[in-house]
């Protein structure tokens, strides 16, 4: 009958939509696996000890690995100390000024990283006269990391059950003691997750570094000012456009190392989230 026919055609439409959602999902995941495949298949044949003990002057990427870790360590120290305590303020002493700060944290996340980079170039490299330097780059990365650390810290502290905090108050502890000794301990995995995500983002950044850290073919001398620093993402971006096969190998091995870092940080974050929710 008529309705029967209608029903079957509706079922056909439904079935095709089911197939379509699956197809689209696979279509988006395909590039992800292809990216991993391309990087691994190009990097693995080029993996050699020389890659990890020589600098980009010759046939290695040691200066880029050390430089990336140096910049991320430096920016993490600044961003974590600023971000975690900003998060404490937002979670514990909220109020009108807190929503004002929350608003600017969101706006700051949306600022393109190249704009942050150009700001760093104008202010630190030119005006303050630091030249291309680790510190200029670290502050640019800090600006990118702070909102993530702040908001995840706030979120984690808000999840601390009020019974736990009230128990601490009942024992006569001050708010400062309660936050530092009790809430932090409870919220630690949540805060750590945010830090790992922020570190992973900053490790993968290029645009804010190009005109703050510039690039350096030798090992970083670990000076904070007046010395450019090499890093992995520059090698990937710049070396893949060079004609030499060696440069391509260096770019792919850099990508491989970067992906291993990013994957480990991501897995670490997921592991912490899982553990946090179990407890």
């Amino acid at each position: 009958m008529k309705s029967e026919k209608g029903l079957s055609s509706r079922k056909v439409v439904d079935k095709s939509v089911r197939g379509l959602t699956l197809l689209v999902t696979l279509l988006i995941l395909a590039p992800l696996f292809d990216m991993i495949y391309i990087i691994v298949s190009n990097a693995v044949p080029s993996l050699s000890l020389d890659m990890f003990i020589h600098t980009t002057v010759t046939d290695g990427i040691l200066n880029a690995i050390v430089g990336s870790l140096f910049l991320v360590l430096l920016s993490s120290v600044i961003a974590v100390s600023l971000g975690v305590f900003s998060g404490v303020y937002l979670a514990e002493f909220g109020g009108r000024s807190a929503s004002f700060i929350r608003f600017f944290a969101d706006v700051l996340t949306g600022v393109p990283s190249i704009v942050v980079g150009y700001f760093g170039y104008i202010v630190f490299v030119l005006y303050l006269g630091w030249g291309y330097s680790a510190m200029a780059a670290a502050i640019a990365l800090t600006i990118i990391m702070i909102p993530y650390v702040t908001r995840t810290t706030e979120f984690a502290l808000r999840k601390v059950p009020s019974e736990i905090k009230e128990g601490s108050y009942a024992l006569g502890a001050s708010k400062a003691t309660t936050v530092n000794r009790i809430s932090f301990r409870y919220a630690a995995p949540g805060i750590m997750t945010g830090i790992l995500i922020a570190v992973s983002i900053s490790l993968g950044e290029t645009a804010p570094l190009i005109y703050t850290a510039y690039f350096y073919n030798y090992l970083p001398n670990l000076a904070l000012f007046h010395s450019p620093v090499g890093y992995l993402t520059w090698v990937i971006w710049a070396f893949i456009n060079e004609p030499l096969a060696l440069a391509h190998q260096q770019a792919f091995v850099s990508s491989f190392v970067l992906m291993v870092f990013v994957l480990c940080l991501g897995l670490g974050a997921r592991f912490l989230v899982a553990r946090w929710w179990k407890s």
């Binding site: 988006i28 292809d34 600023l82 600017f104 990283s113």
Partner: protein
């Protein structure tokens, strides 16, 4: 001030003030970026005038002369002219292509992960989605150069110009594979996980009574999704799309690597090489150093200012739809 449950002792007061001072760094950084970029671009704003927004050119002027010209009190090289239109068009067109692909794609993925996928694969799917969102943009660029650009050159562009060639802007094909279309495709891939994760969470919150009621009335799963699940989340979809737009507008490295770099010419077809405002800041800075008057550097700051304004507008629009804005999408990753 808000009343405290217990009278605030001295230590707590100090703690509050100290954390407030640290938290103030966020608005301070924000205003510092705005003020310094504005201040640095002031000579360019005066020299370029309104022509900056009506022309498409990037010309440092005559570098081989000691002569200079003065316009509105600002010194520049003779023949210098700067206009942002070409970069603005490159930025908006590539982001528009990205959204046209990413929004329907994200809805499909969100439907699949929230409703269709068997329970065992949901967690891994979400993890893969997070991974895709966390891949650095140079890696997207590297993949773009090694895989997508050759694919666009050999298959996608010739195929599209064959099928859609009668539509203006879609004909003509490409020589290199670098260009607007490739940028749009790679941006679509980059913003899809951002949009789909936000939309998925909203889909999962659709009241099950509504869905079950519709199923009981004999609706198919798709009819329930089309009439209930998707309309229920339409503000989230709009907000998430704006979040994705904000990200696409400011994306630098991936677009720089596959854009093909044309600074002044407007794209004549979807395969034309382009630059965006973000990529121009990277690729034009080296040459800008050669301008002894500094005007090229100031003009790049003006480009940064326009880029700032455009992304701010997109993110403000997102805030209207999704409370918490950009950060929410990332913070929620520590929630699930």
């Amino acid at each position: 001030m808000r009343r405290q449950r217990t009278p605030e002792n001295r230590g707590d007061r100090a703690y509050r003030l100290a954390t407030a001072a640290v938290a103030a760094s966020i608005p301070i950084f924000m205003f510092a970026i705005l003020i310094f970029i504005f201040q640095y671009s002031l000579p360019a704003i005066r020299f370029n005038g309104l022509g900056f927004f009506t022309t498409s050119s990037w010309n440092l002027g005559n570098l081989n002369t000691a002569a200079t010209v003065v316009k509105n009190g600002v010194t520049g090289l003779p023949g210098a002219s700067y206009g942002v239109i070409g970069l603005l068009v490159g930025t908006l067109f590539s982001s528009a292509i990205a959204l046209l692909i990413a929004v329907p794609t994200s809805i499909a993925i969100a439907l699949f992960t929230a409703e269709d996928a068997p329970r065992v694969v949901r967690e891994p799917l979400v993890a893969l989605e997070d991974l895709l969102a966390g891949i650095p943009s140079v890696i997207y660029g590297l993949w773009g150069i090694t895989v997508l650009v050759p694919l666009v050159q050999s298959t996608i562009a010739p195929g599209m110009s064959k099928v859609l060639g009668f539509v203006p802007f879609f004909g003509g094909g490409t020589n290199t594979g670098y260009g607007l279309l490739t940028c749009g495709l790679i941006l679509a891939l980059m913003v899809t996980p951002i949009i789909s994760s936000t939309v998925r969470e909203s889909f999962a919150k659709t009241p099950s009574e509504l869905k079950e009621g519709a199923l009981a009335l004999g609706c198919t799963k798709w009819e329930v999704q089309r009439r209930i699940t998707i309309p229920f989340s339409k503000t989230t979809i709009a907000g998430a799309s704006m979040l994705g737009l904000g990200r696409a507008l400011g994306e630098t490295m991936a677009v720089l690597m596959v854009g093909g770099g044309s600074y002044a010419a407007l794209p004549s077809k979807i395969y034309s090489p382009i630059s965006t405002m973000a990529t121009a800041i990277v690729s034009l800075l080296d040459s800008a150093f050669q301008d002894p008057t500094g005007l090229a550097l100031y003009s790049l700051a003006e480009v940064a200012l326009v880029l700032f304004a455009v992304t701010l507008a997109a993110n403000m629009a997102a805030r209207v739809f999704v409370s918490g804005g950009v950060t929410k999408a990332f913070v929620s990753r520590s929630e699930a």
